[in-house]
């Protein structure tokens, strides 16, 4: 089993069982890698299906205040990209849900896209999401991802016209990251009504799993997506729990809160369709 197929197999298994995939997002290195590794273990125990690991970046234009603040905390503590790789390398990733790195292109480019991807694959990442590398610029990165055995996940936004969406789908692997709202990451009470239509249309265009992210935080939002999506991604609602550490909360308490939020979403996503 190659790393790159782990993502597809995860989605395939869930589909057979009539379940949605749940993919929580956590920031690497907030407040340190030890906590990040504990969070990964906690999430795995709670039964999440994939884990998105955000590489802190100094200028994340797609991110709202919660994830920005988390990135800033990690960077203020002098987190380096290599600390993330070294930390993940200590995990038995084959026994964990597939790890998907969320990495700004600035960071990949600086190390060299090939070298970055080789190292990511080596330490056990199954795929990468590069939020600021649009499909038009992604052909070289897609080839290098393939060479290194990583899935390169592509994003589709509510503002993406249909002809663009088809081009993006042709370049995608693993799953398609469907951005639910035109905007930045962060908890929203409601998902836009057009989202279901777009997902239904995308469903006809591709066999790739459709995972929906941005703005999702609650089990009842999962219900809205159950028949049109294959997975949901939850970031800010998870990362927000880390704020408590700044206010004197203990790591155990944060782990248990994250576990609770994740547990609720696992139950919601794994409920049969």
């Amino acid at each position: 089993m190659t790393n790159s197929s782990r993502i597809s197999q995860t989605f395939a298994k869930l589909k057979q069982a009539g379940q949605l995939a749940f993919m929580p997002f956590i920031t690497a290195g907030d407040p340190d890698m030890a906590m990040t590794l504990s969070l990964i273990q906690e999430l795995a125990q709670r039964g999440v299906d994939l884990i998105e690991v955000g590489f802190p970046y100094s200028d994340p234009i797609a991110d709202g205040p919660v994830i920005q603040a988390s990135y800033t905390r990690a960077l203020n503590r002098k987190l380096k990209v290599e600390d993330i790789f070294a930390g993940v390398a200590t995990l038995k990733t084959a026994e964990l849900p597939p790890l998907v790195g969320m990495v700004s292109y600035a960071l990949l480019f600086r190390r060299g896209v090939d070298a970055f991807m080789a190292r990511a694959a080596e330490v056990g990442f199954a795929g990468l999401i590069i939020p600021d590398l649009p499909a038009d610029e992604a052909s070289e990165a897609a080839a290098l991802a393939k060479k290194n055995g990583l899935d390169l996940v592509q994003l589709i936004a509510p503002t993406t016209p249909r002809d663009r969406a088809i081009k993006i789908l042709n370049a995608a692997s693993g799953f398609v990251y469907c951005i639910s709202i035109a905007g930045i990451t962060g908890v929203r009470d409601q998902l836009p009504p057009e989202l279901r239509d777009q997902l239904a249309w995308l469903r006809q265009q591709t066999k790739l799993p459709l995972a929906v992210g941005f703005g999702i935080s609650k089990p009842d939002q999962v219900d809205v997506l159950r028949d049109v999506a294959d997975g949901v991604i939850v970031g800010s609602a998870i990362v927000k729990q880390l704020d408590a550490l700044e206010k004197g909360g203990t790591r155990e308490a944060v782990l248990s809160e994250v576990g609770k939020v994740a547990g609720g979403l696992v139950t919601a996503t794994h409920q049969a369709k």
Partner: protein
């Protein structure tokens, strides 16, 4: 990243359809913004083919902005240096006091063509914010300006002016609280508002088509200066000098001269307190190739690709990136880039005030400071044209503070 090289002569025939200046430029933004950038590119292409658009813009530049502004012989500055004759391109005489308005008038007309009713902008020194607020007031558009908290402090006067013209100024408290963070916040706003909002970027930075479009709107500076120099001196200048923050006044000044191989072009970056990382904003002198704010260019960043902290006395030059066309000009050798320190700029500010009766913006003072050095090395037969990108009124509080004077 493709392997196109930019060595060899630079040409003015850039960028290509993908927004590439040699290898630099392009688009590195979230998918959410891609469609808007494609639409903007198409609308801009249509506008440039439309004589009515150009006519309206020219009319505004003439009757509202006050163009053409003069190319002025700085007689006493020239005497003081005892070398080349120094001519000032007087962008400081534009309405709102800087070159920024050349771009905002063009982009506001585009905003109207696209039927968008809301405009956002970032600002460092506040000059671009004021120029945007002005253009929006003139055309009745909603205007929100993002400005780093540190710059809100340094540039109070401009904050007041923007608010008087009905713009909402939103202080930005993330990161270094300067221009770079203001751009991040404006981009984040745009992620959620792109369907009804146009983002008027204030310099030749950001994803395609901004670097090209802003350069084109600012090129009126160089076109006028080139013609005026021929009229006044009877030939092209020997050297053209301008300061480089994001690079818009310099790009607009240089672009019409790029194919004039006898004209030396020199960009002046902020040398801050010195060459140590974090003490300056000399992106082209000390930076590496990388990605920031949606485009591939030189950037000041650490070994991981995290953007570095920068410093300059001048809010408008306090930026860790630079427009991709400048990177192309640097690598092709067409433009030389040098640094001027905070102290040299402050000295030049005072020299200009005493000798010419002109208070230059602190940004422009960097260009003046280098001009003083360059003129001394040249003969009186030679001619230097320098872009006086803006006036210094906005800076008097900061200058007074730095000189230990009290404004009361």
């Amino acid at each position: 990243m493709s392997t196109t090289t930019t060595t060899g002569a630079a040409t003015s025939q850039v960028p290509d359809d993908l927004g590439r200046f040699g290898e630099f430029g392009r688009r590195f933004v979230p998918e959410t913004l891609m469609h808007a950038l494609e639409e903007l590119t198409a609308e801009y292409a249509r506008a440039t083919q439309d004589p009515a658009f150009q006519k309206e813009l020219d009319g505004l530049l003439s009757t509202f902005v006050g163009r053409p502004n003069p190319l002025y012989f700085a007689e006493r500055l020239t005497q003081y240096c005892g070398g080349a004759r120094i001519y000032l391109k007087r962008e400081d005489l534009n309405h709102t006091g800087a070159h920024k308005i050349n771009n905002t008038m063009g982009q506001v007309l585009l905003t109207r063509r696209m039927g968008k009713k809301r405009v956002i902008a970032e600002t460092g020194a506040g000059q671009h914010g004021v120029a945007t607020a002005t253009a929006c007031a003139r055309f009745g558009l909603d205007c929100v300006v993002y400005m780093g908290e540190e710059d809100v402090r340094r540039q109070k006067l401009n904050v007041f002016n923007m608010r008087m013209m009905g713009a909402e100024v939103r202080p930005v408290t993330s990161g270094s609280r300067t221009l770079r963070d203001a751009i991040n916040e404006a981009m984040r706003d745009w992620m959620g508002s792109v369907q009804n909002t146009h983002y008027i970027i204030g310099s030749v930075v950001g994803p395609h088509p901004f670097p090209m479009m802003v350069r084109d709107f600012q090129s009126v500076i160089g076109r006028e200066a080139r013609r005026q120099c021929q009229e006044i001196v009877g030939r092209l200048p020997d050297e053209v000098i301008a300061c480089v923050g994001g690079g818009s006044n310099s790009a607009g000044m240089f672009y019409p001269f790029v194919d004039d191989k006898t004209v030396r072009l020199t960009g002046v970056e902020a040398g801050g307190r010195g060459p140590q990382p974090g003490d300056h904003a000399s992106t082209l002198t000390h930076g590496v190739k990388g990605v920031l704010h949606g485009s591939y260019s030189y950037v000041l960043q650490d070994v991981d690709g995290q953007t570095a902290d920068v410093h300059s006395i001048s809010a408008g030059l306090d930026y860790p990136g630079v427009g991709p066309e400048h990177s192309y000009w640097k690598d092709s050798g067409r433009v030389d880039y040098v640094s001027i320190t905070d102290q040299e700029a402050l000295d030049a500010f005072q020299t200009m005030a005493k000798l010419e009766g002109i208070l230059p913006a602190l940004e422009s003072s960097h260009a003046i400071a280098h001009t003083l050095k360059a003129a001394k090395r040249r003969s009186p037969q030679e001619v230097i044209v320098v872009c006086l990108s803006g006036r210094g009124d906005k800076d008097v509080y900061e200058v007074a503070r730095l000189l230990g004077r009290d404004l009361g």
